[in-house]
């Protein structure tokens, strides 16, 4: 977890290991293979900016190894359910 200032450029969540900068400096296109999470397999690692207790910061899933994690996706803020 590192503290980040909230700039105007909008950082977003990304899968760890994707979109690596190649040695020639070009952004390598990620393979079209989509890893889909399955029970009984490793949870795909990701990094994402977060809002946490008044701060703009970020998380990386693999930093939580050794702990149980409840990962909850939902349609959107200010939705009704």
């Amino acid at each position: 977890m590192s503290e980040k200032t909230g700039g105007c450029a909008r950082p977003t969540g990304a899968v760890v290991g994707e979109n690596l900068i190649a040695e020639n400096g070009e952004l390598s296109k990620k393979e079209t293979t989509v890893v889909t999470a399955k029970v009984g397999t490793k949870a795909p690692d990701f990094e994402a900016p977060t809002y946490y207790k008044g701060e703009f910061t970020s998380i990386k899933l693999s930093d939580y190894l050794g702990k149980w994690v409840l990962l909850c996706f939902y349609p959107g803020d200010f939705t009704f359910v």
Binding site: G6, R10, P11, T12, G13, A14, V15, E18, V34, V35, T36, A37, K38, V39, G40, T41, K42, A43, P44, D45, F46, A48, P49, T50, Y51, Y52, K53, G54, F56, T57, I59, L61, S62, Y64, L65, G66, K67, W68, V69, L70, L71, C72, F73, Y74, P75, G76, D77, F78, T79, V81
Partner: protein, 151 residues
């Protein structure tokens, strides 16, 4: 999400960290917390609210709805080894029930504590009978467990 926040103390007592993810920005998460969630949960959201604008994370978890540009309701229980033990995915109009997620966490933690020597049958909740898989149990589960008594 306010329901998760309201159950956060229970989750913490089980050693569970919570991460929520939607396509909304951190800035919208802040305003949602300040304007609405904190009023529903009677406290500020105590966990990380992550942002996944283009659905990069949702796509690999199989919960990103490309047509609508939002995440589906997807809930994953991940163990300390980083392995997904349970997942539940629902379309948006129906909400989840936190007590079911918590029941599953109790069950997976129990199985892990016994190193798989005990398993949790249908409808199990803490304090109820577990089963011990082995040769003696093959074909004799009916003696040990009844859906009428234990479910």
């Amino acid at each position: 999400m306010s329901a998760v926040a309201a159950n956060y103390d229970t989750l913490q007592s089980l050693g569970v960290e919570v991460i929520s993810v939607s396509v909304d920005s951190q800035f919208v998460h802040k305003v949602w917390n300040d304007q609405e969630l904190s009023k529903m949960a009677k406290k500020d959201i105590p966990f990380h609210m992550a942002t996944d604008g283009p659905g990069n994370v949702g796509k690999i978890y199989g919960v990103y709805d490309e047509a609508a540009g939002v995440e589906l309701r997807g809930r994953f229980i991940i163990d300390p080894d980083g392995v997904i033990q349970a997942m539940e995915v629902m379309t948006p109009p129906v909400g989840r029930k936190m007590s079911e997620a918590i029941r599953q966490i109790y069950a997976f933690q129990h199985v892990r504590k016994t190193k798989g020597a005990e398993v949790c049958p249908a409808g199990w909740s803490p304090g109820k009978k577990t089963l011990k898989p082995g040769p003696e149990l093959v074909g004799t589960v009916w003696k040990e467990w009844s859906p009428f008594e234990n479910h």
